[in-house]
Symmetry: none
């Protein structure tokens, strides 16, 4: 724990306030000539957010560090107030969470993908001709059927999209990270997974398991074509992160539709609330669960999805749809409400980016930045200024009056 | 010293410039619906600051860290350029300074308050029914008259407001911090003050002194009612802080009316200039002392005081009063002038807060942010941006051309 985190912990007071964090995934965007110099957030009709804006403060958040584009993992960990550089989560773990797998403490997870091998066992295609998802599912089912355990560890195999799948080793005394078995280029054999920290007994054990797993698995698919082998990457265990409740003294619930975000929330110990499939349903469920939690993380995927597609109109409509649903949430207005993204996903870039996402924060002690709308350009002149995303939680706590005065 | 502080020290050049820091205590505020979305600074008529603003730059300062509300101690230490987390001053010391006591290096100071004890010595009221100041003064006088020394240490007892007082132990080889003797709840005996660092010989000696002090003092007041005991908290020594002059090569003077701020200035080695009782008198005294110092810290209390009262109109008027006096200061315009607060004290909160205070900085090389007024909303878009308060001194030094170029 840093000195500053220690100070926050020392000053933390209990609260009866309700805090809500509404994440429009990838909401930040770019104003370009092609879009008439408007971002989707600026082009969208958002009467409800406009109304909120008058009693809110705004700012722009650097997700990780200047110029760094985060994946969903670091993006959300920062929103949850964890330093995204100090709290790195292995890609195997993120991938497993994204496929909806429930990880347990001590699990070692790996991203895997099918590949093609020649008669000598050398990799001839690292992605097995990018086989279809159905073929991947069939092969994973074959492996799952024949391999339940390796040594004393349970093995869980879950197909993903295309040639990708995830393998989880659930046993005692395991840990990552291990080096990839992907040799990075064709013409080489599958590499051994080796402990990154050579002195770790637990990682040595995990390395042996993976070797044994290969010895069992390769014979099962050896006659398949083109996918007669597989490579493993990002082999890691679920990190030991202090839970959200330990860190903030807030009992937290996750209202997300997509597994990745439920997984990330679960990683910090939030309760996953299952059921809601649309933002209206999510907000309605918030109303029902209002008394049961202190903190609500409400995740909205579509802004990111359409940003990735480069579909300006659809991203704009997705924002309008959320805005239309907002009055449901406001029926029991949270004492502290933040609306933001986990990063930007600019339509012109068709992908995540480093551009700071706008954030709006409102509470009875937020005052007002006197901005008529919640937009990137407005957020530039808000009193939250440019801040690191990891500090948003601290601002929210302050607005919930959760910090005692520091010093006399 | 941090790497950055080392760099600043290395680059520091002597200067003939005059620097002035005018602190409107707690000036920052919130724009709310109730106040027509204006802050006191925005509502106030401030023709002189408006005039300055055109040749100034502005920004907003985070007093300590996001969401952290500082007391006057950390607030001012940050303004004086000291990291307020690394440079923590014990509450006993702050309290002693606030009562106008002169502390010497090595003094151990404690906040104390009278309490009620039952026949078994258990605390029945931790505040002795909140006795009047006069009663506290009488009891302190009794203790002072009979206890001049404990072992080889001088004892200084000074009454405060209500049930509160301060005890200073002045001797050799003493240090804090010690744990509180306040048991935190009724029904328990007075606790022993124990060294926080159990291995510190100096703190052990201080702990023994405090035990001996109790043995002498309790019998003196044992027949008093309701205040027949006392509790001690925040037992600490004056920290060893490099002086302002050592740190900045600036000979500094403090023009403050209230003892707390004189005390804080004294803590970093500024000269206290006694006499002035109003802001006009403070500015006039600045004119007189102009040639004697390089740096002037001019403290104005009333903005904070009326903020604590939640009195918007009075806070606004206090700002107008300072503005009216400003031309006196400008008769000998400082080469570098900063006007700011040590934190915000928003009227709606009736207390200190974490909201960033606005800052205005003017010099012959400040340029202009082209803002017509000095306000919170204007400061949001100033070229100083959002900065940590501890960096204001470095900006002031830079504007005084006190830093050599870094690297070729």
């Amino acid at each position: 724990m840093t000195k500053l985190d220690e100070l926050y912990a020392k000053l933390t007071l209990p609260t009866k306030a309700k805090l809500a964090l509404v994440v429009l995934d990838g909401v930040g965007d770019l104003a370009t000539k092609d879009s008439g110099f408007l971002t989707p957030l600026e082009a969208a009709k958002t009467p409800n957010m406009d109304q909120l804006s008058r009693e809110s403060i705004q700012g722009r958040m650097t997700p990780v560090a200047p110029g760094i584009t985060p994946g969903s993992g670091p993006g959300h960990l920062a929103l949850f107030g964890y330093d995204p550089i100090d709290t790195q989560v292995g890609r195997g773990v993120i991938e497993a969470l994204g496929l909806g797998l429930e990880l347990k403490s001590g699990d070692v997870a790996a991203r895997a993908n099918f590949c093609s091998l020649d008669a000598e066992g050398l990799v001839t295609d690292r992605r097995a001709g990018r086989i279809e998802t159905e073929e991947c599912e069939r092969l994973c089912a074959m492996l799952s059927a024949k391999i339940k355990k390796v040594s004393d560890a349970e093995v869980i195999i879950q197909p993903g999209k295309g040639h990708r799948f995830v393998v989880i080793f659930r046993g005692k005394g395991l840990e990552g990270p291990l080096s990839d078995t992907d040799p990075q280029r064709e013409g080489l054999p599958i590499a051994d997974a080796a402990p990154v920290d050579a002195s770790s007994k637990k990682a040595q054990k995990a390395a042996k398991l993976i070797k044994a797993f290969y010895e069992k698995a390769l014979p099962i698919i050896k006659n398949e074509r083109p996918a007669n082998g597989f490579l493993m990457r990002g082999i890691a265990h679920q990190p030991n992160i202090p839970t959200f409740e330990e860190r903030y003294q807030l009992k937290a619930a996750c209202l997300a539709v997509y597994p990745m975000y439920k997984g990330l929330a679960q990683l910090v110990g939030m309760d996953k609330i299952e059921g809601p499939q649309s933002i209206s349903e999510q907000f309605n469920r918030y109303l029902e669960e209002y008394d049961n939690y202190d903190f609500f993380f409400i995740h909205y995927k579509y802004t990111d999805m359409y940003g990735e597609d480069g579909n300006f109109e659809a991203k704009k409509k997705a924002i309008e749809e959320l805005d239309e649903a907002l009055p449901i949430l406001l029926q029991k207005r949270p004492d502290v409400l933040a609306i933001t993204g986990d990063h930007s996903t600019p339509c012109p870039m068709k992908g995540h980016s480093w551009h700071p996402q706008p954030v709006l924060l409102t509470s009875d002690v937020s005052g007002s930045d006197k901005l008529d709308r919640f937009t990137e350009t407005g957020a530039n002149i808000g009193s939250l200024g440019q801040l690191e995303a990891k500090f948003l939680m601290r601002h929210m706590q302050a607005h919930a009056r959760m910090f005692d005065k520091f010093g006399a």
